[in-house]
């Protein structure tokens, strides 16, 4: 029969083993997660960043830890408004916002975030994800420009077509007039 002390020690050992497994899983999760993500404190001090996050913003591993998340904002006012909104609602989804990489490059991203709360519903950390839509937006803009150009071309092409019909009709009318005049001239002679 297992004594209470042994049972307690065995459970503690098992717990440590489970934690070690979880720790490795979390480490791998941050390493492999394809979506740029990070966690922050309730006042948005960065606590953890994934590899994709560091790659997107061009920072070295752990370089941003302890820094404010506002460091990646492109337009500070917009970004602060997003954070204020998050503080109130505790969750935001797919908010499009301009961000800034270390070298100053503008990044357009869809930001989602959720608060982790304690029993009193007080936020003790936030989890953020940033889906980079810079390329999609650029392609969308280029596509839009092409649509506008196509519409312009279509307008010109249709205008020319109508003009040609008009000219053809005018030519037909002129042709009839000439024939009429020839007939009248022949009758006179």
């Amino acid at each position: 029969m297992e004594t209470t002390k042994n049972l307690y020690q065995r459970r503690e050992r098992e717990l440590v083993e489970d934690i070690v497994v979880l720790e490795k899983a979390i480490k791998n999760f941050w390493e492999i997660l394809p979506i740029p993500a990070c966690t922050t404190s309730p006042i948005f001090i960065i606590l953890e960043t994934g590899k994709s996050f560091d790659t997107l913003f061009n920072y070295k591993k752990d370089e941003l830890i302890g820094e404010t998340l506002k460091k990646v904002s492109f337009d500070k006012n917009n970004f602060e408004a997003l954070l204020d909104n998050l503080s109130i609602k505790r969750k935001v989804s797919n908010i499009e916002i301009a961000l800034k990489a270390k070298d100053g490059d503008k990044i357009l991203a869809l930001v989602s975030a959720i608060a982790q709360e304690d029993d009193d519903r007080e936020a003790f950390s936030y989890l953020f994800s940033f889906v980079d839509v810079t390329l999609i937006k650029k392609t969308e803009e280029e596509l839009q420009e092409k649509v506008v150009a196509l519409e312009k071309f279509q307008k010109i092409a249709i205008g020319r077509e109508l003009k040609m019909v008009e000219l053809k009709e005018a030519l037909g009318r002129s042709h009839e007039e000439v024939k009429k005049l020839i007939r009248q001239l022949a009758e006179k002679n």
């Binding site: 440590v16 720790e23 953890e48 003790f124 950390s125």
Partner: protein
């Protein structure tokens, strides 16, 4: 330089420490130096019969408390670092510690943060008690007492930096946070270490 008697005295200390502290030590050595520096530290530890291998450490695993002191002393001795560098290493630790990232609830309300402090200690060590003494919200200061953890002065410098940065993580970006050991069991013969934390915002 540490002598055999000191090594034996440290080895007698009872208790355990989470592996995360050694990972943060290794992180800082690699940040400031190289893999070769880490090897120098491990070789010195081997000379002291301490079987600490940084790469094998599991963050949430428990290790002998004596290793906490040995790790810092070996880094100091093998790399010729001074107290300021040890303090900086302490400051770096909360930024890279998986325990801080997973378990610390860094509430911006300083009173609520203070309530968490004893739990933070328990997440790392099975010995010693970290208690909040005086918290003055108006003067923006707090004194914390570390009891039953009088191991070696090298830990005092390290923890000074650690407490400073852990508090900094709860304050706004432009707040200036400082930690200062105001009473030391080694210098003042007190049964505890006392640290004063102050912040500007």
């Amino acid at each position: 330089m540490i002598n055999q008697k000191e090594i034996q005295d440290i080895l007698k200390k009872q208790g355990d420490v989470r592996g995360a502290v050694f990972q943060t030590d290794a992180n800082y050595v690699l940040k400031k130096g190289s893999q070769g520096d880490l090897l120098k530290v491990e070789n010195l530890l081997k000379e002291w019969n301490v079987g600490l291998q940084f790469k094998d450490v599991e963050a949430m695993g428990w290790y002998p408390i004596s290793w906490r002191t040995f790790s810092l002393l070996a880094i100091k001795e093998a790399l010729g670092w001074d107290d300021i560098q040890i303090r900086e290493m302490g400051k770096n630790a909360p930024n890279v510690s998986i325990i801080v990232k997973l378990f610390f609830k860094l509430f911006p309300d300083i009173k609520k943060f203070a309530q968490q402090i004893p739990n933070y200690w328990r997440k790392h060590y099975t010995v010693g008690e970290l208690e909040v003494g005086e918290l003055d919200k108006d003067r923006q200061t707090m004194v914390i007492y570390l009891k039953n953890f009088s191991f070696h002065p090298v830990l005092c410098r390290y923890l000074e930096g650690y407490f400073e940065q852990a508090t900094k993580l709860t304050r706004p970006e432009d707040s200036v946070v400082t930690a200062k050991e105001i009473q030391c069991s080694f210098n003042d013969n007190t049964p505890y270490e006392a640290y004063q934390l102050s912040w500007t915002k």
